[in-house]
């Protein structure tokens, strides 16, 4: 329950405070969101599997976001930013789908 409240609080904070992001970081926001979603779905699934661990969750979240942004940044520097962000989105998307399917099995038993 507390994590869900935290998520809601974060969304509300973001919507009302509207913090400004440095222009140089703006291109990496969408990919960071996808990475964050992956970590959140993974954590939810682990919780339903009964093996949730706060340390693992926090570390996986931070590293996911940073690594995804870093990969895209590196790709931008090498001139393959679009392709690398596609790769990141594909891999993370598959993982999100897989975790969502596992969560669905837990919740609906189907």
């Amino acid at each position: 329950m507390i994590p869900i409240l935290g998520l809601a609080a974060g969304v509300l904070l973001g919507l009302f405070l509207d913090p400004t992001v440095p222009v140089s970081l703006q291109p990496y926001l969408p990919i960071a969101v996808v990475a964050a979603l992956d970590a959140v779905f993974g954590g939810l699934r682990a919780r339903l599997d009964g093996i949730f661990d706060a340390k693992v969750f926090v570390i996986s979240f931070v590293s996911n976001v940073v690594v995804a942004a870093l990969i895209v940044f590196l790709g931008d520097q090498l001139g393959v930013g679009a392709q690398l962000s596609t790769a990141v989105v594909v891999v993370l998307g598959i993982r999100i789908f897989g975790n969502a399917a596992a969560i669905r099995r837990h919740v609906f038993r189907a």
């Binding site: 509207d18 964050a36 993974g42 693992v56 979240f61 931070v62």
Partner: protein, 296 residues
């Protein structure tokens, strides 16, 4: 390797670190049986909540950015569109003003010249010159030639590929030049294409995909109206070898090429060419200089 990589991505959707941590916990003998000590657990909860706050913040900020970006684009678009509307309205106003002033000049000129016989002669000359320069609107019987691109679905040519058919099925500037020249040759007194009158300096050109008449685009289908005696026009037009060749070409490529005699065609005046280099001679009467204006 590639397949196994994909398999791995598909199969291990959960971070293996969770399983590892669970195994470590199971191995550790702990007296309370809840895993860790209470303060550590509380800290973990706080950290998780904070992480979720960050996740929510990230989502909201990204959403905000996406919305702001699209809104900015829309604003720029709207501003550009209103700019275009405003300026083209201004152009229309100026054109109307020009038309007004031209009519005034014409009326004043007529008034002044009609008084004397020399002036009358000059007026007649001017009228003839204006007709020749396509500076006045005209009506009369004539010939209406229609040229149109081939229908894409009507292309049933079994030989050529689709790309070739597409380019072959288009009316080109050359076709229109040919038709217009044949019409002049057949004795047309005035010609217009889709309501765009051809003056002495008008050009029919091809720019990209569009046919330009006097640098203004005209769209398919092309209706070419020519004023003249319909009988003579059509018989001489049909007898023109170029027209016969064009007819067979258009049949081969599926172009629409037809013409009909019309009892009443009205053609607008052409845009009068601007004088850039030519200057009126300072002669004793105003007549020659006035006559030189519309002819360019």
């Amino acid at each position: 390797m590639g397949a196994s990589l994909l398999d791995a991505v598909m199969a291990d959707t959960l971070d293996p670190a969770y399983a590892q941590a669970a195994r470590d916990r199971a191995k550790q003998p702990d007296p309370t049986g809840t895993g860790r000590s209470a303060p550590t657990r509380r800290w973990g909860q706080v950290l998780v909540a904070l992480t979720m706050v960050v996740a929510g913040l990230l989502v909201a900020v990204t959403y905000h950015h996406a919305v702001a970006k699209s809104q900015g684009r829309q604003q720029v678009r709207a501003a550009l569109i209103s700019d275009i509307r405003h300026v083209s309205g201004m152009t229309d106003d100026l054109a109307a003003q020009l038309e007004d002033l031209r009519t005034q000049v014409g009326a004043t000129r007529k008034q002044l010249l009609a008084a004397t016989t020399v002036g009358q002669q000059a007026l007649d000359e001017l009228a003839r010159a204006e007709q020749g320069a396509a500076a006045v609107a005209v009506t009369g019987p004539g010939l209406l030639v229609t040229l149109a691109n081939a229908d894409p679905s009507a292309d049933q040519d079994p030989v050529g590929g689709t790309a070739q058919e597409n380019t072959g099925g288009r009316v080109r500037d050359g076709d229109m030049q040919l038709v217009v020249n044949a019409l002049w040759d057949a004795g047309a007194e005035a010609v217009s294409i889709n309501g765009q009158r051809l003056g002495p300096t008008s050009a029919i050109r091809f720019a990209g995909e569009a046919v330009l008449v006097d640098f203004r685009p005209v769209a398919n289908p092309y209706k070419i109206s020519a004023i003249g005696d319909p009988e003579t026009l059509s018989s001489r037009f049909m007898a023109n070898p170029d027209v016969i060749a064009l007819a067979s070409i258009s049949k081969a490529f599926g172009l629409r090429f037809e013409f009909a005699q019309e009892d009443e065609l009205s053609l607008p005046p052409a845009s009068t060419p601007e004088l850039h280099v030519a200057r009126a001679d300072r002669l004793e009467s105003a007549a020659p200089s006035a006559g030189a204006t519309p002819g360019g």
